[in-house]
Symmetry: C3
Subunit: 466 residues, 3 copies
């Protein structure tokens, strides 16, 4: 629909449509996401069946069916260590199609419908009776060379795509892409959660991996810091523009070298307490800021998710099963040590993401509207939606100012949904700006400049992808 | 007004009006509320004067006058233990009418005006000068047989009305209704707050009442649990579809049988501490979930109200004087023990209500959008209003999905306001859906199906009232 | 723009325009703000250069430039103890103009543009290329007698302007105004933060000042209380209508006389702990309520700001540098001791302000909608904006009722922005009421009465400025 996501008033629609037209075809900048770099390392990579492409890897999709009582095994999700799961993909697709009405009014439903339409040219509504025809249509197209990831990357007009990679990753797929004759710009992002969070289930093993991959035996806090710096340098050499940090809270603190060493040694022996972990991780976030000041990697923080809340499901199926539940988050006090130390430094850039929208107007916009280093990421995860974007514009922009925000992140592992996600943002942006224009808050020249920044300029500058 | 509560845009109004027309005359399903079953037990029940019907029992109404300095005694509210209160109902009505402007823009004002119009056919504006005429008009009609509760129940097209009843209640009025030749469907709801919350002022006395009514002497934790199960079975036999739990927080925990027994014994001796109470109540909520899994009663939780905040008024007039003030509420961590244990069980249904809207998008929608057992109740209490509904649709639906919500609850003791409350919800729903339709987020078929569900289908299914 | 801030729908605009016209020219009531009384004490006061008037004193303005990396020294902000700062005001203005695009969509940008237009008649857009012409236009006008503060006060149609004054202030400027032949109504407000908050950096020195100015040696808690009462009486004699309290939290408590004395003595010796300070300040807020009951000064509470968050900047430039960051705030429990003691007293009036919008619907509206003494102040600070006002109307009015709110406060030290700030509020009010009217929630008569109250009546009554 031409006016999708625009407010109904005819003048608003007209203004929104004009602004949208001016940005609809700009290239896509994707500075944060979870697409697997393997897709682009192998020129002949294929996506498998429609179910392997669109359902099994997408917890946005299967969580909704699960919430209505459909067991994950009926959707082809593999239990840990193997075990029975549905393998008839046509049957899974049928079950999904019969329950597609559950997605009415949801962004997942919209991305799905849009991807069918814009990527596969399928405009028929997905229901139990159209399920098999649509399955065939998708399946046939997936077999064609036009549906190789590299071809789609170009068709989607992606300018840059940043992946998210463990600090100990070899970046072999990125290496393969660089060594190929293909010019798509795929960049790694440094994600050190597993080595800086002492409570990470893999921490001890990851420290060994860190020692191995860096060639620096992490037997002391000092060498551990050195190994991390070494990895950052490697990521930077491989094109990384940013680091990314996921944590339950944005708590930061500064430990003495001695305390850091003591806790690190306890952790190596498996004796670190919960309080140790909290203090050490909080300290390491400040250390990461220090390294960002020095090496120029943009620092991202994604905080506030209580991961794997459904312990039964976690035990049977593992992580990323749609059971991550947000929690209340506090930035003003928690971030103080970090921003008080580095927030005024022009070399530093800290991009904050939240799942707690109450912090938009209360804490984040005032922080971003003051500290030179602080910027706000776009609405994240559950809030990456038409309403979520509207609330973000409403609650952030007046205080932070547009230029302390960073445009859009699609933040997805679902490669095919990237164009619909950016399109939703661009439409929502155009609609918001049309509202400002019609209310006399900005003029046409301003609205046009802002639209361009939101769709393209801000993301490129904030992530140094120009 | 034909377009009441609809957004002003003409296209939006037209679409909203069409959707509204399709659901305006559906029967009313009232799965949670506080209407007194006595109204229907006695075929000749009369409501008394307009003041006894519309002011004295309605703390939504008199709190607003009190907030502007009008003493409760001038409104006929009886102090505890008797004492002077205004008894001239015409004078009370006059005082009320002169201050009715205080309700401008409030849902209470709208329900009142709508009830006057739709139930009594009075469209004149209530002011000091119309007060006595309107009093006469109401008074005259209240005397007629058409204004007996049973007649109004039918006129309102109520399909099912659930009351709220103490766990120790004899359900004699429900018994009388069942034994009468009247076919109105009035069902009890099991409300055990006074027997599971150790800090309830009546707890000790209610345990004795529980022993008496169940015939099981509650001298041990085990027998206490058995007595509760016995009561639930009785309620179920009497038609109950649900249990309801009110608490200050949704804290849950699981005690060992031994700890439960120890605390229970301390409580019997009047020696339970605040920490005991918190742990025991949290544990009993999980026990209530276990019983719901077994007996199929839907479990409702209404949490977050700091009851009787105004201690002076509470001392003089008792509870429910409009002085219950909401508090910040946390669900993600507090509910974890309960939903981790029973949230995946297909036999279990847990409906959550909140007074803290910050939990809608952050905690409740993600919980409902994942756990098979969890559903979200409609906007509650202060949020049962046009804006409250809009915020709820805005913040809940994208993540939870409509089908993890349960339609509307009128949650009122003001029987005459029931049709206006449902009408407000139906209009708000139609307007919201019209907005989705015009923004291309759903199509016409979806919008119509969703409207039907919101007005009728969801409540019937969620509360097993089909 | 004629329809500035109005929703785009033509019917809404028409209704909003009609309501706005009915209130646009009402006098301005300014019951809370920070304009310096010196402006009016000296009939020949001049504002200095455009930069001295519009940039250097306005942290709303310079914080945005700072957030984008422009050093404060380049904007003429003087470091503590002197030191290099830009002194070429034309160059500062040029830098500002070149970055004025940063204010796109912000209320600061709108106030600025509106002040240029309505006060100076400048409708050209401020950019790098228009900077010097506009500088000249402002500069020339500032020299004329029409731009003396007293003349502008009359031109702006200000009926009453309340300043904010330390409890120990001599009020010499207010005295000079009273003794002059000028009739402008400028009233002091009693602000005792520095004498009641033990952690205030000036507390010890301010106690000496309090002793000196009151003539009562504050050597004991009793004499300290007496000295405060003495100052309140003096402020009242000088026309004060209100007291104002700023605190990090609204925590209140009641100490025994003995504990109050003990803490006070410790504080005099510089030995008070953080816990002492918290309890003492909480206790003093209740004492201030008691004094308000007795002397009739309206009590205001502005809570929730973490002051001077950026310690580096605070060290170099001092307070009020745009680095105050809001924090989560809790009223229901924190205010209980105070409102339980004085909230039912008809002589008492407590006006609450918050930076935490989550408390609007959850805590503040229910408190104001119940306690006779409690009223809600308008959207404060970051929320004094078109969106902030809309959220306030949306979340407060249904539950509190309009008549438990107090109209508008401009709360500014930027005298020239006062008309644009009131105009924004009046337009936002008219637009909100037009929405209620078109949705059939209020009728025309109600909407007009409410518009008048919001623009004029409520503020006059709530602050006893009639």
């Amino acid at each position: 629909m031409k006016n999708r996501f625009f407010d109904p008033d005819p003048a608003q629609r007209k203004a929104a449509q004009t602004l949208y037209q001016s940005i609809a075809d700009l290239p896509l900048v994707c500075p944060h996401g979870h697409v697997d770099p393997r897709l682009f390392a192998d020129p002949d990579f294929t996506f498998g069946s429609p179910v392997e492409l669109l359902i099994i890897p997408d917890h946005y999709i299967f969580r909704m069916l699960y919430s209505q009582g459909i067991p994950l095994k009926k959707l082809g999700i593999p239990p840990i260590g193997g075990g029975a799961t549905e393998i008839d993909h046509r049957q899974i697709w049928q079950l999904f199609a019969e329950h597609f009405y559950l997605f009415r009014g949801t962004p997942s439903g919209n991305w799905f419908t849009e991807a069918l339409s814009s990527v596969f040219g399928i405009d028929k509504k997905l229901t139990g009776s159209t399920a098999q025809t649509i399955y065939d249509q998708i399946n046939d197209q997936l077999a064609s060379p036009a549906f190789r990831p590299r071809a789609l990357f170009e068709q989607f007009k992606i300018e840059t795509l940043c992946t998210t990679d463990a600090a100990t990753d070899s970046l072999e797929h990125h290496q393969a892409i660089r060594e190929s004759d293909w010019n798509g710009r795929i960049l790694p992002t440094f994600r050190p959660d597993a080595i800086i969070n002492l409570e990470h289930p893999q921490w001890r093993r990851q420290i060994d991996a860190l020692s191995a991959v860096s060639g620096i035996a992490c037997v002391s806090y000092g060498r551990y810091i050195h190994a991390i710096e070494d990895r950052r340098a490697f990521f930077k050499k491989m094109g990384a523009a940013a680091a990314d940090h996921s944590a339950l809270t944005p708590f930061t603190t500064i430990l003495s070298a001695q305390e850091a060493e003591t806790i690190f040694q306890r952790a190596l022996r498996g004796k670190a307490s919960a309080a140790d972990a909290r203090r050490f991780t909080g300290h390491m976030l400040v250390e990461m800021a220090r390294m960002s000041v020095e090496d120029g990697l943009v620092m991202q923080m994604h905080v506030g998710s209580y991961r794997n809340h459904n312990v039964q499901l976690y035990g049977r199926f593992g992580a990323d099963m749609g059971a991550d539940i947000p929690t209340r988050t506090e930035f003003t006090r928690n971030l103080a040590p970090l921003v008080q130390k580095y927030g005024n430094d022009g070399r530093f850039s800290l991009i904050l993401f939240t799942l707690d929208e109450t912090t938009y107007a209360r804490e984040l916009a005032p922080l971003a509207g003051h500290y030179p280093a602080v910027k706000l990421g776009p609405p994240w995860w559950f809030h990456d939606s038409p309403n979520g974007m509207r609330r973000y514009f409403d609650q952030v922009m007046e205080t932070a100012g547009l230029y302390n925000t960073v445009g859009f992140n699609d933040d997805t592992r679902a490669f095919l949904s990237i164009p619909s996600r950016h399109d939703m943002w661009r439409r929502a942006s155009a609609n918001w700006l049309a509202g400002l224009l019609l209310r006399g808050i900005v003029d046409k020249e301003d609205a046009e400049a802002m639209a361009y920044e939101m769709a393209y300029g801000l993301a490129r500058r904030a992530y140094k992808l120009e």
